[in-house]
Subunit: 612 residues, 2 copies
């Protein structure tokens, strides 16, 4: 490909509002252009990288035995009603308006395709003999992101590989989950991404076993907890610390004592007045929720609004800890919302900011105590009296634990001890080593889920088992953000001058630079090198522009083609052409034919290395 | 690929409402599944065919020097406002509703991308030195079709190749138009389509030179006029007949005579009463329109509602002819609508159905006479009096022609003689041979347009010429319906048993059938043949299902893989495997290794033949 016939609008300007390296370089290197908030055009160079990622994903999915199909972007709302997600996902579902006709309001742009594939499954997968099968597509997805950001990391339209496996038993689901896990590892390695696999929450997808494939980078929007020994990794929603060790077993419990703390609502302010630390305080948070019809916990938690009986729940965490809403919902068995000030005042008898656990249990429906709170001694808390706190609060004495133990679990109907907090930096990992956890930001590039029968149950997708009985299909699902692969590659591989593409994603593998457009001999040699590389199947770009050498080198660094062959008067005088690698210092002068051979070998070697 | 691990849900049932062969076979062969009206999932076999078509299009566009990029499906309404198409295309634009936030109402799903590419062009194409350039994408498009039908021929979501070329002079536009014309011929030939190129109207796209690439088939939704000698072809909107020959130049003109024709509004009824033929009648149609601000004719005709001054227009065509709205709008210089009954009564003084040209010219703003009407003698028409017609109507005597000539043209401000009718079967073609025209139905698979400066003018997309002056970019655009390639291939290549794929689009090139799943030796040979063909780069499917031979043959015919290798007891006893071609009678038994070689050669030969 010749640069002059191509379209690479590089720019020196750093786009305003862009802070992530991938975002800045995406725009500066002419890979993409924003059309609207969270909506990008892929310019030729960006599209080449995106399609390379797409092809790697496709090749590896095919190799893993998955079968490709393609579902539409426009999907009928009726299917989303069957699973209830028309309502539960309404904040991100883009719906079509009725200006062309009422029929259009029955359509929604799919942000994911569980409903659609399950509809296909119930139509065609009738017998266990057809199972297991893993159906996938690489297709555009649409999400009504309220605040899209960071270039192509969080957008309203994106390319996704989504796969859905169907099973008649858990054994084959386990096996396919492992198959996909291994396939994802291969995919991300081939793409040159330094990825980490973490345990994850399933969220709106449902199911209970789930892993995310993360690329650690400052630009990431997800938080991951990794143990220092790298044995344990989980996303923040899921990550747990090792259970706390029991406190000293002495008898010296301080007495409850009220302290006047006028206007001190925040933990820091209270600590200043009481002369204590946040880790010695108990935060008392009041929630309201709606108990589900069935008391059995189920990961498919109903939204607060759709059930009937309103309940009051109090959650206790240490003053230096934050509530984890996912864990809290699990412990409560229902979705919860922070109570409004009126309810808080009614429950505590005080203004907001002065709640404490003592004496509350009779006024509420459920008390959920974080494990770390159970081992506190002589803690401080709100006094349930406006402008007052108390010191000397002791769990088990001043509020019930229903057990003096420290492990997680359920202690009766009303009082629950559980892990309901986010881990913090330095927490011991929940593994034998108790290696300290560290929190890092990451880009989620892949996510795999064991869904179970969530969708097949609600949509009536069954197949006949060996005995001729209809059983709900058991499902797994497996997603990869293709655009994010590209962005994560840039985040992981760049320097101050531009991108350093992994060979497998590079829009072009080799850049040939004719240094001086007036030098006919150099131009001729450059063109020959280009043509021979192209004939050898190498993706090669020839910079044949009528520009200064310095300008060309700056653009070369910016667009980040891994290998470079420079042809100029100087190199020819020194015996040939100069071969360099992007991001490395080494230079080598060799005859043009040797350079073609050498560069071809380097490309193949690097691609093989990534694919191993 | 092994059938048992794959997903090909064939069915014997002919889907209700499906009449087109491509529609029926699409569903029966398990290529696609309808998700909602005009919205299809491509099942694995259908997706493979679709992607083969897509790849052929991409390869040929690349070879032609076009540069691929990818624009989003979600596009901002602001760009559509700039060209006025948010209003003029409002009947097919799918807009996003505001349920996720008001921002979403600013988005529309692109049915075509002139506005988006012109926005990219005005951002980056600043100098004539960057031109010409042809930017293309292969991407989903969305259209709010009121009545989608015929399977994937007319859908609400479809895959399209759309290319847009930019120029600073007409010479390079002409050259690129020819380049695309030739490229389209290559593409459709490679896809095995028997296509015809026809002159076309540009319609909503704008511009004046335009060609459609048509595949003739009964299932087509477009009408094409082709001369018997195949020299002339145009779509119905565009097709013209040769001008009429002047009538006899004698002096015997009949007098106008009123005839009582109570209740006879339709042409046939009137003819019955008058004892004449439709071809001797003049149909008098009354329209209303809004004159454009500028009187200059311009293909970018404004909608009737957006301008100010309302006018009344009368159009005359022969009783056996139909008005062509495109031609009428051109002749009138504005968009027209049929007048309401009140206006008709006001103009004619009679109820609807009794209008005639005599005496009307003073009551209207414009009289447009079809060329064929000018050569009528002693014709019949409405009497402008309820329940009466007249005979002996003579053009030039009873209504003005402003010239006795027969050629098209403009005769003064008020009276216009022009070609404003649809051609009919048997009309002489407008070429020297006057070969008779025949009307045929066709599928439009491609369409190329010279757009000129329609979009660059309204969006202010200019580039600097050699003298440093800003000039509007000159544009061409070039579309291909990728799904339609697949449907047209099925329409053109099938028999009563199923599809007969062209080799280039075939989901698999070779089908190996192991006839009896209990016959281990045959199974082993079939597997070996499959593996060796796959190793040779052939797309091969192995029917390894535990089904009866007859069932397998029926499915084989249905899914239409071009080459078949059958392995059974009988063939092995006869010395090997049986090689057949779909749709042909010939059978050949040969040793397995020879069959692999033979079949590989046949595939390559056929692909080369199509690509020539």
């Amino acid at each position: 490909m010749k640069w002059r016939k191509y379209f690479i609008p590089t720019t020196k300007e750093t786009p305003k509002d862009a802070t992530a390296a991938s975002h800045i370089l995406l725009l500066r290197a002419g890979l993409a252009r924003q059309l609207a908030a969270g909506i990008y055009s892929y310019l030729p160079l960006g599209l080449r990288a995106l399609r390379k990622a797409e092809n790697i994903v496709r090749e590896e999915m095919d190799r893993a035995g998955a079968v490709e199909l393609r579902m539409p972007c426009l999907t009928p709302t009726t299917l989303w009603e069957e699973t209830g997600r028309l309502e539960t996902m309404s904040d991100i579902l883009l719906r079509i308006d009725g200006s062309v006709g009422d029929w259009a309001t029955g359509l929604v742009l799919g942000p994911t395709h569980e409903e659609i594939i399950t509809d296909i499954a119930r139509a065609y997968l009738k017998s266990y003999k057809q199972l297991p099968i893993n159906l996938y597509q690489i297709q555009l997805k649409f999400r009504g992101e309220a605040r899209p950001k960071s270039g192509v990391l969080r957008t309203r339209e994106f390319l996704m590989k989504d796969a859905y496996s169907f099973h008649h038993d858990l054994e084959t689901l386990d096996k396919e989950y492992e198959n996909m896990y291994a396939t994802y590892c291969r995919i991300f390695k081939r793409c040159g991404l330094p990825y980490t696999v973490v345990e994850a929450e399933s969220g709106a997808m449902g199911g209970d076993v789930s892993h995310e494939f993360m690329v650690m980078t400052d630009a990431g929007e997800d938080l991951v907890a990794i143990s220092e020994d790298r044995v344990y990794a989980a996303n923040l929603e899921r990550a747990a610390a090792a259970p706390p060790e029991a406190g000293q077993d002495d008898d010296t419990f301080a007495e409850l004592e009220e302290v006047h703390t006028p206007g001190a609502g925040r933990v820091e302010d209270v600590c200043a007045v009481l002369g204590t630390q946040p880790r010695q305080m108990i935060k008392t948070l009041i929630y309201t929720g709606v108990a589900p019809a069935s008391s059995r916990f189920d990961s498919d938690v109903a939204p607060a609004s759709s059930r009937s009986e309103a309940v009051r729940v109090v959650a206790l965490v240490r003053g230096d800890h934050e509530i984890n809403e996912f864990k809290l919902a699990k412990a409560a068995g229902m979705m919860l919302e922070l109570a409004d000030p009126e309810t808080i005042e009614e429950v505590t008898g005080a203004l907001v900011g002065f709640a404490g656990p003592q004496g509350l249990v009779d006024k509420i429906d459920k008390l959920i105590i974080d494990r770390e709170v159970t081992v506190l001694r002589d803690a401080a808390s709100g006094a349930n009296k406006t402008d007052y706190h108390v010191t000397g609060v002791n769990p088990g004495r001043d509020f019930p634990l229903d057990s003096a133990g420290t492990g997680p679990g359920r202690y009766g109907e009303k009082v629950v001890v559980a892990d309901i907090r986010n881990v913090v930096d330095g927490d011991p990992a929940p593994i034998e080593s108790r290696s300290p956890l560290h929190l890092r930001t990451a880009i989620e590039v892949g996510h795999i889920f064991m869904l179970g029968t969530k969708y097949s149950d609600s949509m009536g997708a069954t197949c006949l088992d060996k005995n001729g009985r209809a059983r709900p299909l058991i499902m797994g699902c497996y997603g990869i953000g293709v655009n994010r692969i590209m962005a994560a590659a840039i985040e992981s591989h760049h320097d101050e001058n531009g991108i350093i593409w992994p060979m497998s994603l590079a829009p072009f593998e080799v850049l040939v630079i004719a240094l001086d457009s007036k030098d006919e001999r150099a131009n001729k040699v450059a063109l020959e090198v280009h043509d021979e590389l192209a004939a050898a199947g190498i993706d090669v770009l020839l910079d044949d522009r009528d520009e200064r050498a310095g300008f060309k080198f700056k653009d070369a660094d910016l667009i980040g083609i891994p290998l470079r062959v420079v042809v100029g008067k100087k190199s020819l005088a020194a015996g040939g052409v100069e071969v360099t690698e992007r991001g490395k210092e080494s230079k080598e002068i060799m005859p043009p034919e040797a350079a073609v051979e050498h560069v071809t070998k380097l490309v193949r070697q690097e691609l093989n290395k990534l694919a191993q």
